[in-house]
Amino acid sequence: MSELVFFFNQVVIAGAVLGSVYALGAIGVTLIFGILRFAHFAHGDMMTMGAFVAFILAVGAGALGIQTPIATGFIVLPLAMVIAAVLALGIDKGFYAPLRRRGARPVTLLIASIGVTLMIQGLLRLFFGTGTYSFFDTQPKTIFRIDTSAIGSTRPLVVTEPQIMLILLTIVVVVALHFFLTRSRLGKAMRAMADNPDLAQVSGINTQLVVRVTWIIAGSLACAAGTMLALDVTLKPDLAFNILLPIFAAAIVGGLGQAYGAIAGGFLIGFAETLAVFNWTLVLRPLRDVLPEWLELPNNLALVPTEYKLTVAFVILVITLLVRPTGIFKGAST
């Protein structure tokens, strides 16, 4: 039983957490792609920026002496998301809208977003240096160690407060997004615009508004994802830039422009990463005594060595694309 709990800790929880972060990020990437037709490279740094916004708010709240039962990072999150949405709108206005007005091609916008990412990185480091920050400097991070001796395990089931919140948040976001996209007028307008911007305009859809809504959603979700990631690990200027590639992989595997695809892709990549390097020996150990002499369990029975972890995500990606060239959910392509 210990082994099962171990598996749960190592694969199910870790995969779900990683998957949630990827999914939240990938939703933004995929929506932006759907509406504006370009791969938004600055998304990782928008996540980091959002996390810093939340961090400042949390520190501010702490300085004001506000005590909260759950981590302040969560309490301030809604406000941080609003601010991040405004920042995202500002970035669009400042850097992408002028290019769109001049009819730039998607790849130009993509490169522009690389420019934006570099600027955000520079500014973040300018203001926050290069150090690491934590939301849990002043308050402890609650770690639930659930005793599982009832089912005959010697190991506890370990899950932390941010992890629970993260998974809950992801579920809420997914449901809300589903209703927004399929039920609301604006949501449908977003899909229409993703499909055919010229015709959307001809249909009287206010395309400017749709673009703004897209940035608001993408910006605020990026903030949420970044903050959650920072709560789960730590906050540093290169927090999310490092997971940008898996996020893109998730968006692509799911099918660009497909919000559900992004979610599926996020979890696929997240679980692939954790499963690929999981050492099966640890789970199979109880069988040690049953197994014949000659079939001795090797020390390491992982699918691949850990140094090839990211590789696995990409191998999955490539294979998925070979089978379904536009992703699981048949995404758009320029």
Binding site: F33, A39, F41, F95, P98, L99, R102, G103, A104, R105, V107, T108, L110, I111, A112, I114, G115, V116, T117, L118, M119, I120, Q121, G122, L123, R125, L126, G129, T130, L245, F248, A249, I252, L256, P305, E307, Y308, L310, T311, A313, F314, V315, L317, V318, L321, L322, P325, T326, G327, G331, S333, T334
Partner: protein, 429 residues
């Protein structure tokens, strides 16, 4: 258009002169050399994206292949390896690999024997698995043996220029395989698939310690032309030797660049280029007009990748160290995209301008950021706020900001690149 291009190139020339004046001639020569290598790579990308519309985001992988190739060809022979059982064991592994490849090939062709559908898939998977196991059973002990007895296989001690060529060949071979697998994918999907493949190449080169020494790095990789040390040994002064040696290398690289440039300009100006643009525009129609789209895209993908391989090889030759961990998507793949897009995709002059210009901006951004900071710090001290703390770190970190600003401004005023692709009637020939 010509006026504008000329102006831009003159501007670039002045920038280089200014850098030379402020930061010294040897430094500038070295950066110019690297810029030329980057230009080669940018031309490769321009072929793939600008001509072929292929969204290759795996540039880093091809550069790494080039880097590995030149290291392998030109690094001195490792007698410890050749004197051991290593070559033997490697030979066996190679055989195992060939055997595995045969198995897979056979399984894939098994349709000829009437094996179809699910059985075919099952057979193929089984063949892959068996091949993998057979290969691993030979390579793992060989790798462990080599690592413990000789460190790594060493090089072949041949001339570095041969290494560049081999870099091109190796890149071509891998590009062929990658292209066969991936070129059916469209735009952004191809982009992420190639990113994936370059990450896989990186993981392999970084972890096949027996072959590449992995993260332990190999150095010094020899130069194709005499080193400064050699000139010094002949009695030249410090600066003179440095200039002579770098000048020699630079001349060699510029020669390569010039040849490549002329060749691709020629090709692009004529029917070949027209066909490629047609395929990029609408591959379905092009196929119906008798163009073998798959083969042509493969051709262009390989052609571009060869240049990336050669460029990567030149860079490693020049810095004399092959360090797989120093390859990062941000300053290999993405920087090159920035060069091509800011310069002007689909226009070789644009790619050239973009490559050299962006590389210089990248190089001077640190001193530039530092100068700005020092100014600000001076002002703030004067204003009584006190100096900016940790100027060194901050300015080093601000260089990315400077580059970001340059990209944004350039695109803002030239969304199609500084020297955009020329779309319109071409000269009668």
């Amino acid at each position: 258009m010509i006026r504008r291009s000329l102006g831009l190139f003159i501007g670039l020339f002045l920038l280089i002169l200014a850098v030379g004046a402020v930061l010294g001639v040897p430094f500038t020569t070295a950066r110019l050399l690297e810029a030329a290598a980057y230009a080669l790579i940018a031309l490769g990308l321009n072929i793939q994206w600008g001509y072929g519309g292929l969204f290759n985001f795996g540039i880093m992988g091809f550069m790494m292949l080039g880097g590995f190739a030149v290291t392998f060809i030109s690094y001195p022979v490792n007698p410890e390896f050749w004197g051991s059982d290593g070559p033997w064991m490697l030979g066996r592994a190679l055989l195992a690999f060939a055997f595995g490849a045969l198995l897979v090939f056979g399984a894939r062709k098994s349709t000829r024997l009437g094996i179809r559908g699910g059985w075919h898939v099952a057979l193929t998977i089984l063949a892959w698995f068996t091949a993998y196991v057979i290969y691993r059973s030979q390579i793992d002990p060989a790798a462990a043996y080599i690592e413990s007895s000789a460190g790594f296989v060493g090089g072949l001690g041949a001339h570095p220029v041969l290494g560049w060529l081999f870099g091109g060949v190796l890149a071509a071979a891998i590009a062929y395989i990658v292209g066969k697998i991936c070129l059916g994918l469209r735009t952004d999907y191809l982009a992420i698939a190639t990113i994936g493949i370059s990450e896989i190449i990186r993981a392999l080169i970084k972890n096949m310690d027996w072959l590449t020494r992995g993260t332990l790095t190999v150095s010094p990789v020899p130069w194709p032309s005499p080193l400064a040390q050699d000139y010094m040994a002949e009695g030249y002064g410090d600066t003179a030797s440095l200039l002579l040696s770098r000048g020699g290398f630079l001349a060699l690289v510029l020669l390569v660049l010039a040849i490549v440039f002329v060749l691709i300009e020629r090709a692009y100006g004529g029917p070949w280029g027209r066909m490629m643009r047609a395929i990029r525009d609408n591959h379905i129609a092009a196929a119906s007009m008798g163009k073998n789209v798959t083969a042509r895209q493969l051709e262009i993908f390989i052609f571009g990748s060869v240049l990336m391989g050669i460029g990567g090889a030149i860079l490693v030759s020049f810095v004399q160290i092959h360090d797989p961990s120093s390859y990062q998507p941000i300053n290999h793949t993405f920087l090159i995209w920035v060069m091509v897009i800011v310069g002007g995709a689909g226009n070789n002059w644009g790619a050239l301008l973009g490559a050299i210009g962006i590389y210089f901006v990248w190089m001077i951004s640190e001193p530039l950021a530092r100068a700005i900071f020092e100014l600000v710090s001076y002002v703030s001290t004067w204003a009584g706020i006190g100096p900016i703390p940790e100027i060194e770190s901050r300015s080093a970190q601000m260089r990315v900001f400077v580059l970001g600003v340059v990209i944004s401004v350039a695109l803002r005023y030239a969304p199609r690149g500084l020297i955009p692709e020329y779309a319109g009637p071409r000269a009668r020939n």
